[in-house]
Amino acid sequence: MKSGSKLEKILSAGHFAFTGELGPPRGANLEAIQKKAEPLKGVVDSVNITDNQTAVVRMSSWGASLLAIQQGLEPNYQMVCRDRNRLAMQADVLGAYALGIRNILCLSGDHQQFGDHPQCKGVFDIDSMQLIQAVKGMRDGKFINGQEVDEPPRMFIGAAANPFAEPFEWRVYRLAKKINAGADFIQTQCIYNMEKMREWVKRARDMGLTEKVYILAGITPMKSLGMARYMKSKVPGMDVPDEVINRLKGVEKKKQGKEGIAMACEQIQEFKEMKGISGIHLMAIEWEHRVPEIAEQAGMLPRPEV
């Protein structure tokens, strides 16, 4: 075991993993975390705690990760390169590990221009690839500068992948780069374009990459037609095919949420069968309370005990 996290145990035992997401509140609001955490207990193996998501100030991801642990959830601590330099990032990894955090997801982060402090200076001292490398290096006992770590933080290291963004041909090589940098698992961007996803997974399989890393397919159920349209036109790197829009258009407004969940469940079914996919990462944005129902309907329950 690299870290001994529950997520690592589930994946290494060959179970189909199921992770969720919890966005920290825009305030020191403990209750908000409790409320979001409640429905996820026993339903997901680990929960991603986002780091100033969409460049909007929120409770720190390590702070919220600790609160998640108190709530009985295993956090997957997200860290972006936008807000900290290498000193702060390495320091935070040490602190997080010492306090019981075992999974980390290394990301570049959305550009600050999209957030609530667009005037700020983006740090980007290192990029996500270099962050993966840094956390792997620390686990192996060395900081970025080559100096020794006194008691290495044994993190299970995650990275993101966007199978859809251009240049498509390069995406699988970029996945290979992340694996070489030290990624143990991958969580993908929200998937709507299944055809492209199948092709990306096939290419990853052909290159032997799915043998080297656990890939969790990213799923975000559409709550409404409006959300689908927004995702299609406004969210960077999102690929929403017209079929998805049309299918939601075909049902009356009140039933669109239900249809969105049905679509997500169909995707999950397909991923369960797909060679090279090791689990699902469900990003039910501001829909945490519906996660048990989605998990049930998708046949993800009960979760295995490890």
């Binding site: 963004a165 240049p167 780069k177 960077p236």
Partner: protein
Amino acid sequence: MIVAKRKPFEEIKELIEGYKKVLVVGCGTCVAVCLAGGEKEVGILADELRLSQKSEKEPAEFGEATVQRQCDREFLSELDDIVPQYEALLSMACGAGIQFLAERFPDTPVFPAVNTTFIGVNQDVGWYEERCKACGNCVLGMTAGICPVTMCAKSLLNGPCGGTNGSSCEVDPNQPCAWHMIYERLARQGRLDKIIEICPANDWRNQKPQTLIQPGYEERYESEK
């Protein structure tokens, strides 16, 4: 070249408020080429300032002078006899030129009339684009001559990020994604192997003021160090 943009007129007026004799100092190199602070722009700004003083009881006076390069002592020396006749200097050079002017005349207040914006290229008349952030550790050899530090909004050395919008950057549909361009150009040259390897964390060498002495000149400046 270094590209600059004139400050808003109101801001300039506020900066020099109260001074009765001001010399507007232009620079004949980069800022002249990018139409921000050459001889012509000095003339225009001085005229505008004079016009704005018309209704004053005691209008301020504005002189004009443009040197070939404000970042060079040899040219600044041309101003030695003129500057003492003025209460303040309003420089239209880049930030480096303005500072060198202020250093040469430490008894006279110096104000900037332009905002220095970037190191860039001339796309067409009046149209400039940033190309280099002077990071001090050039990676253009790896990236097919396209600067990821400057042209990628996140300065990624292992791009592209997951936000690319077709071939555009996630921050602006009108801004091409630097890493998309790097990929295309390397593919065209059959050199994609350049970006298969992980590029390690950069050694940012522009984090403190720097001095550069070219090889061969070390001895000459030994005594000054």
